[in-house]
């Protein structure tokens, strides 16, 4: 099969499959071969699911040949972050050595929905151990090794959906599923020059996904384009009796081209603390966005946003992993700091956690008040390019960096999409994020598509891959 399928967007692959120019089986074999051959280069893969993939691909081919086309993911390969339960003897490791051989006997709802959409599961993808919930400070925080960035193999691919980022950027799968508690979709998307969509909290069922923080965890796609993220979201969104936080708000992706004008907001001083190249990329992006609509400076009231979301995250993670922490099994984790940092969280007072939950309500209302007159808040996706493999991971979660957009967006459960918007130091990508009101995925995706329609950053791919 021609190499030009490797970096083809999902929409393009879908057109080829539907028109029977592309064979789902050959497509699966192409990406399975790449996963097996190149996956180790990027520490991107935990398990290549060859048998399941070929079975699904053959079924897709037969259905399509019989005229039963399911939709744009039918016959399209993908990878799932290895915190999503998979049946059939495929391990689900959570990136953590204590669970490296653990298997479930059911599929996570997202995996099941993608199967129903006809997508082909080709790999379980590497991740930071326990999705970074134990306080890691370095890229080497998984039993599979640090996620390697296809743009620069001395750099990290981002966390915690590191394999999801590396695999899509290196053309090992056309799209992947990641999870975000605070930054774990937008960070690898930004570091790897991809589109990454964090849906509204409650949009996508987490049933069968590792719980890190019950009120912060979200699942979403990483892909080559914002448009592809919309296609994937439609397949995985929707209420699920097995996850009572899901909401019965039907999502139909509107991928139509629009000539509408957008209203963008930028938080005052949002680029403070950003690397120079990130500021330059963002300034160029704002010029482009002014051609697509209006850009105005906005402010949020002075609240301790990072502290609100951080306190919720730490307290819930301490409870979610209570057994692992209290048993001392965290001593088996890879990053040395992951073996003890969580002990500190026993000291979070219930009163302080509740105060954070009370302030979360204020934060959510204030964010919505600002967003009500906008289509999206825009900001750099990350304050810097990906750190080097031997470097420190600066993180707002630990307080070593500031991330108001991430704190508000995740704390209030708001959707955001990141897309590439340039390159910074060491040839590494920079990114632009669009954050919208709750349930406004179609709006932010339309804005991101409009941006990508007049830029070509998403058409550039690592020479290494």
């Amino acid at each position: 099969m021609a190499d030009d399928v490797v970096f083809a967007p999902v929409r393009q692959l879908a057109e080829g499959i539907r028109a029977r120019r592309l064979s789902p089986v050959e497509l699966a074999e192409t990406f399975l071969d790449r996963l097996e051959r190149l996956g180790p280069r990027y520490n991107a893969v935990v398990t290549v699911t060859r048998a399941r993939a070929l079975e699904q691909a053959r079924r897709a081919a037969a259905e399509i040949a019989a005229g039963r086309y399911r939709g744009p993911l039918h016959g399209v390969p993908y990878g799932a972050k290895d915190l999503l339960a998979t049946s059939g003897g495929i391990p689900t490791t959570w990136g953590a050595a204590p669970f490296r051989d653990r298997c479930f006997d059911f599929d996570a709802t997202v995996v099941r929905r993608l199967e129903e959409a006809g997508a082909v599961l080709c790999a379980k993808l590497a991740m930071v151990e326990l999705a970074g919930g134990m306080g890691y400070r370095q890229p080497n925080a998984a039993f599979t090794g640090p996620g390697v960035n296809p743009w620069n193999r001395e750099a990290w691919s981002g966390g915690s959906s590191s394999g999801s980022g590396s695999a899509v950027a290196a053309g090992l799968v056309p799209f992947a599923i990641g999870s975000e508690t605070w930054g774990s979709i937008l960070s690898p998307a930004g570091n790897c020059g991809l589109a990454g969509l964090r849906p509204t909290y409650g949009r996508v069922s987490r049933h069968g996904a590792m719980a890190l923080c019950w009120t912060l965890d979200k699942l979403g796609p990483l892909a080559l384009t914002a448009d592809d993220c919309g296609l994937v979201l439609e397949a995985i969104a929707g209420p699920d009796p097995a996850d009572r936080t899901t909401v019965d708000r039907p999502f139909r992706y509107d991928g139509a081209t629009t000539s509408r004008r957008f209203r963008f907001g930028v938080l005052r001083d949002i680029t403070d603390g950003c690397e120079a190249e990130v500021r330059e990329s963002f300034a160029r992006s704002l010029e482009i966005l002014r051609g697509l609509g209006t850009v105005e400076e906005v402010t949020l009231p002075d609240l301790p946003y990072d502290d609100i979301t951080r306190t919720i995250l730490f307290a819930e993670a301490a409870s979610a992993f209570e057994d692992l922490i209290e048993s001392g099994a965290i001593a088996e984790l890879t990053a040395p700091e992951d073996r003890y940092t969580a002990y500190a969280r026993d000291a979070i007072l219930a009163k302080d956690y509740l105060k954070a939950l009370r302030l979360r309500g204020v934060m959510a209302r204030e964010a919505d008040r600002v967003l009500a007159s906008l289509d999206a808040l825009v900001a750099p996706g990350r304050s810097g390019v990906a750190p080097m493999l031997g470097g420190e991971v600066r993180s707002a979660i630990r307080g070593s960096a500031r991330d108001v957009m991430g704190a508000v967006g995740n704390g209030a459960g708001l959707p955001a999409v990141a897309v590439p918007n340039g390159f910074g130091a060491r040839g590494l990508p920079t990114s632009l994020q669009f954050m919208g009101r709750a349930w406004e995925e179609n709006t932010i995706l339309a804005a991101a598509r409009a941006y990508q329609s007049v830029t070509d950053w998403h058409r550039r791919h690592p020479a290494d891959a």
Binding site: P304, R310, Y340, T341, Y343, A344
Partner: protein, 70 residues
């Protein structure tokens, strides 16, 4: 007590709790790491406590009375 002294005192109190629960598992370097983590937790907590809210401001948390169907 100055703010830094108050933070330090709270951190030491919390550290004593962690040492009581997990001390035998932790060497000196790890305890120092726990102390650093505690400093962040205490700073965050104090920032939260500094914001005044009315008692009507409830936690943003769903809870519903439960009754099995039907």
């Amino acid at each position: 007590m100055s703010e830094p002294e108050a933070v330090r005192a709270e951190v030491e109190t919390m550290l004593a709790l962690v040492r009581e629960r997990y001390g035998p598992r932790l060497d000196a370097e790890q305890l120092a790491g726990v102390r650093t983590a505690l400093e962040g937790i205490v700073q965050a907590a104090r920032a939260l406590r500094a914001v005044r809210l009315t008692s009507a401001e409830e936690p943003a948390q769903p809870f519903a009375a439960y009754r099995a169907e039907p």
